[in-house]
């Protein structure tokens, strides 16, 4: 048993590991909370943005004066009006020395580069007046050629998105002798996969409220990153950091889309500075589909060299990543987060990765649940199935022949990541049993034999991912603009209650519950006695926020460390009051007790005594609180085995997921119910990429999927009941043994589903169906194979 597990047990209570219902849910679900759009301030004005209908055009004239004549309108501005102060939206991840980072004005000044880019704004007394007045803003455009296809964009003579050209950067990573590995390789699989463009669809649309008293500024935003946002806004707007308070009130989901410094946030701040009144902006769903940063959109060329028995020699990846029109906060870094995951759970001798970031006249891309890792996992898990088909071996067996065995951990992969722990055998064995793998294979054989119009396919995804985005040194080596530590303050209040201030910024993850469970066990106080504060830079002065499945694996550990410090202080007070040596005072379940005697004090009594400060040890500061900042040495590596059975109706192309088994190993678990929820939501989101979602631009650069009638999100009615289970191989890189679960389901499920569809159709000569695997696409793929063979 590891040190870490001992420490976890040392928490000693019954809370960690308990499937508590989330304490924040009642207010979130009933809406009785302060969503940003609920905020009403005296004299508050409302902003509406006029957005470019053109994918690429020169702005030849802007005349906002008509809007001023409309009822209720207070002001109207064009990009040119704000050019002197609006600055450029930040990109914090310059991945190479020579990366091209174009100027990115929050409102376009001379040229628009995607449909939806803000070109003017109207400020009015209510939202309706503002929206109505947009009609009266006159803008003339001189259309320029759109740039929509990455491959075409890189060709000589392509229209340019920016003066500097359409290439932003090329980033490379290589390990081992790739040429030797491919030379004379008995098997080479060569595939190109399309990671379609996705639109993050958080339940709560983005909203911003900015206010000022002339000196101090406060920005409420539905953001995942109040702390990072404050720094970035200070740098962008020139408002001194200490004069700017950022608040992320309750936030209704993000999936990465609110890990951003948005044009609207900057502009609302500028407008409140100009006008001296509070201003609010809330997006509509269609506005959001156009302008929330998009996800994925990569073209993956992957080659795999293997022995004839299926043992992998090497993987080579050549990636085009669509940046969209500009680089936003971490746009160029997204493919890098996947760069180290193309080897998956497999051993190999060589790896070569090249990624080129390409500008197009579309909405910029950036982090979306999984960010880089789903793409990599998809490619390697798809291609492992292709390898299996090529050599005629069961795809699970091919994986077994290649994966890192449990006895080999810790294991340093070809990508130079050290996987601290894992047990792929255990997770797989459990999944196969729950799934009934052999029986389904038999049914599949039977349906193939009978030429059943409904074929059965089985998809496997034995994934891992790197999460707990943290080690500041590693992030620095990748040129990321910030660190990866996390911070917590824990304070005992006079009445024995506890306040925890976390630097993480929950937007649906249940931190209030999980952190309360951790603190309850650590300090021996009732779960109900713990309050968790977050999201306000005035109360939570330090933090790195929530993304990349980092909150528990980094922020949760900071909470543990801060609790440890509080207990240590309390022990001294207890020893003093009990007239014993601190070394003789033991702490258990909230009570300090002198070893071998019955004398004891509860931690609540210590808290009150500290508050009164009448009788404290000499030199003891009268406070029972502590801070801790945690920066782990490594990422964490959740893994698991997902199995999916899909029925494909070969007459219509319709697919139906018949069963889905997920066995995840996310390390130790603080709250199984929250983990379960994350897994369910994650799987749903991954299935959505496989089957439903796609942002579609037409050849002129119009986004066609601006409503949910066209951008299809699955609901519960479209998904099967998932069978989930866990194995628990604790992480060795943090004291709780936790790994992170926010993205695992999304990373795992997409290849499982597509592998199943392709598996069903292999007898028809199909080796790929592009995502999303819509019925029409499946049907056309089948038809084209029929035509080929005819």
């Amino acid at each position: 048993m590891t040190e870490q597990i001992k420490e976890r047990e040392a928490l000693g209570g019954a809370e960690v590991g308990r499937a508590r219902r989330r304490k924040e849910d009642a207010r979130l679900i009933t809406g009785r909370t302060q969503w940003t759009d609920n905020i009403q301030l005296p004299g508050m004005l409302h902003v509406a943005f006029l957005r470019s209908p053109m994918a690429h055009a020169r702005i030849t004239r802007v005349d906002a004066s008509g809007a001023l004549a409309r009822p209720g309108v207070v002001a109207a501005f064009s990009g040119a009006d704000l050019a002197g102060e609006q600055g450029s939206l930040p990109c914090a991840w310059p991945v190479t020395e020579d990366i091209v980072i174009p100027d990115h004005p929050p409102m376009a000044v001379d040229e628009v580069r995607y449909v939806g880019e803000a070109v003017a704004c109207v400020v009015a007394i209510d939202r309706y007046a503002a929206a109505d007045a947009l009609e009266a803003v006159e803008i003339d455009y001189e259309p320029l050629d759109p740039v929509l296809d990455m491959t075409e964009a890189l060709k000589e003579g392509s229209p340019k998105v920016h003066e500097a050209g359409n290439k932003s950067f090329t980033w490379k990573f290589a390990e081992g002798d790739i040429d030797a590995a491919f030379r004379d390789a008995p098997v080479v699989i060569d595939r190109t996969y399309v990671q379609q463009r996705l639109i993050p669809s958080a339940m709560e649309p983005r909203a911003v409220v900015a206010q000022t008293d002339g000196d101090q500024f406060t920005l409420h935003s539905s953001t995942q990153i109040p702390h990072i946002l404050r720094v970035m806004l200070a740098l962008t707007t020139g408002i001194p950091e200490h004069k700017l308070r950022v608040i992320a009130p309750d936030v209704g989901g993000g999936f990465g889309s609110k890990l951003q410094v948005t044009a609207e946030e900057v502009l609302c701040l500028l407008l409140t500075r100009r006008m001296g009144k509070p201003v609010k902006w809330t997006e509509s769903r269609s506005e959001g589909n156009l302008t929330v940063h998009h996800g994925r959109d990569q073209l993956q060329h992957i080659r795999l060299a293997a022995e004839s028995d299926g043992r992998v020699r090497a993987v080579q990846v050549d990636l085009l990543a669509d940046m969209g029109a500009y680089l936003m906060l971490v746009t160029p870094g997204i493919p890098l987060l996947g760069a180290f995951m193309y080897s998956g759970i497999y051993k190999m001798d060589a790896y070569d990765f090249t990624c080129t970031g390409v500008f197009t006249t579309k909405m910029p891309t950036d982090a979306y649940r999984g960010a880089g890792r789903p793409e990599a996992t998809y490619a390697i898990e798809r291609v492992m199935d292709e390898l299996a088909a090529e050599i005629g071996v069961d795809p699970m067996e091919v994986r077994r022949r290649n994966w890192i065995e449990h006895s080999e951990f810790p294991y340093t992969t070809i990508c130079n990541l050290t996987y601290d722990s894992g047990n792929y055998e255990a997770a797989t064995e459990r999944a196969l049993a729950l799934f009934g793998y052999d029986k389904l294979r038999a049914e599949q054989a039977d349906r193939r034999e009978r030429r059943d119009p409904v074929q059965l396919g089985i998809g496997i995804s034995t994934y891992t991912e790197m999460c707990g985005l943290a080690p500041s040194r590693v992030l620095g080596s990748l040129s990321y603009g910030a660190g990866g530590w996390e911070h917590a303050d824990v304070r005992m209040l006079p009445t024995g209650k506890v306040e925890v201030v976390t630097g993480t910024s929950p937007h649906g993850q249940g931190h209030e519950t999980a952190w309360s469970q951790i603190v309850a066990d650590s300090l021996g106080v009732p779960y109900e006695d713990v309050a968790v504060l977050h999201g306000d830079t005035a109360t939570s002065h330090k933090g790195m926020d929530t993304y990349g499945s980092r909150s528990l694996a980094v922020g949760g550990i900071a909470v543990v460390r801060a609790c440890d410090k509080v207990k240590e202080k309390a022990r001294h007070v207890a020893a003093h009051l009990l007239e014993a040596s601190p070394d003789d005072v033991e702490f258990s379940e909230g009570r300090f007790q002198v070893r071998g005697t019955g004398a004891s004090r509860t931690i609540q009594e210590i808290a009150l005594a500290t508050f009164a400060a009448h009788d404290l040890p000499d030199g003891f500061e009268p406070r029972l609180d502590a801070s801790a900042t945690f920066d782990p040495d490594s990422f964490s590596f959740p893994h698991g085995t997902h199995l999916c059975a899909v029925e494909v109706d070969t007459e219509t192309g319709a697919t139906a997921i018949r069963s889905y088994v997920a066995v995840d190993d996310v390390g130790a678990v603080v709250n199984p119910l929250i983990v379960e929820g994350q897994v369910h939501g994650g799987i749903a989101q991954g299935i959505a990429q496989a089957l439903f979602e796609e942002a579609v631009y037409d050849v002129d650069g119009n986004l066609l999927t601006t409503t949910m009638a066209d951008y299809l999100l699955p609901s519960a009615a479209d998904l099967p009941s998932f069978v989930t289970d866990r194995t628990e191989t604790p992480a060795t890189t943090n004291p709780l043994g936790v790994k992170g679960v926010g993205e695992a389901g999304t990373i795992a499920s997409t290849p499982a589903v597509v592998n199943a569809i392709v598996d069903a159709l292999r007898p028809y000569g199909v080796h790929d169906v592009r995502m999303p695997c819509t019925p029409e696409r499946v049907w056309r793929t089948l038809r084209s194979r029929e035509e080929e063979s005819a």
Binding site: L50, R51, S52, P53, M54, V115, L134, E135, E138, I139, Y141, P146, L148, D149, M150, T151, E152, V194, Q196, R197, S286, L290, D297, L299, L320, D322, T360, K362, E694, A695, V696, Y697, D698, V699, D700, G701, N702, L703, L704, T705, T706, T707, A709, D710, V769, R770, E776, R777, R780, T781, R783, S784, E787
Partner: protein
């Protein structure tokens, strides 16, 4: 969103008679359902030449959906010898940020004592009406162009000149045009009715589903982009027995044909 339409029909009048009608904007404009002509600049009262420009507006109404454009159009080329004329039009939504641009080329050819008319329209629409994948607006563009072509055919045939002309007055109240436009199936009044019944040989070619861009190709590998040949798509209106209206031909997305229509329309009226 770009769309292309081709219409072809013959009218039982000689080309010499048909040609001047085509140049008479005041008679042509009302063929366009929902159009209002506000002003003509350049050219002569009845004579149109290169450079002649018009301003106007056009209201497209389909069920509860309404999109109004205002803008301008100008003859780009008028070649009497070749019996060809082309014009370009550009419009903006009156109540939105979207734009619409159209280029229309009409060619007349003598066929005995009749005239074969071929109208090619390319239309580009931006803004909200272009931002839908489900065919809400998709239906609109083709329908308007169809109605226009049918009305034009009727007009050239001469039978309904008067009716059409009655609606054509310059600067006529917008409400009149709108009323006309909104009456389902009545398009420009009787002209539409006649247009659809009088031209058994009006052929239309639907433009293919607009390609999606680059890496987000909507079609899977091997899928054809044009689903039917022009012959297949050509639709003999009279054969659509029982169809209450002329079939809209282009299920292309994007509405706006409306604009296309812009034919004789458009210049930022409200610019003042």
């Amino acid at each position: 969103m770009a769309m292309r339409f081709e219409h072809e029909f013959t009218v039982p009048v000689p080309v010499e008679e048909a040609w001047p009608v085509l140049l008479d904007v005041e008679r042509i404009a009302p063929c366009l359902p929902g159009a209002t002509l506000d002003a003509v600049e350049g050219g002569t009262a009845k004579g149109t030449e290169k450079g002649t420009a018009f301003t106007g507006r056009m209201r497209v109404k389909v069920g509860p959906i309404t999109v109004t454009y205002r803008g301008q159009a100008a003859f780009d080329d008028v070649d009497e010898d070749a019996r060809t004329l082309s014009l370009k039009a550009s419009g903006k939504e009156a109540r939105g940020a979207g734009t619409a641009n159209a280029e229309v080329t009409a060619r007349l050819a003598a066929e005995g004592g009749r005239t074969r008319v071929r109208v090619e329209t390319s239309l580009n629409v931006t803004g909200r009406p272009a931002q839908f994948g489900r065919g809400v607006m998709a239906e609109v563009g083709g329908k308007i162009i169809d109605r226009f072509a049918a009305n034009l055919a009727a007009l050239l045939e001469g039978g309904r000149e008067e009716a059409a002309h009655a609606k054509a007055g310059l600067g006529e109240a917008a409400t009149e045009a709108e009323r006309v436009a909104s009456a389902v199936g009545a398009a420009t009044g009787e002209a539409a009715q006649n247009g659809r019944h009088a031209h058994p040989d009006l052929h239309v070619v639907r433009s293919p589903w607009p390609e999606a861009a680059g890496s987000v190709d909507t079609l899977p590998e091997g899928g054809s982009r044009v689903y039917q040949t022009a012959e297949e798509e050509a639709l003999d209106l009279l054969k659509v027995a029982g169809a209450p209206l002329m079939r809209r031909i282009a299920p292309v997305m994007g509405a706006l044909a409306a604009l296309a229509v812009v034919l004789y329309v458009v210049r930022r009226l409200l610019r003042r």
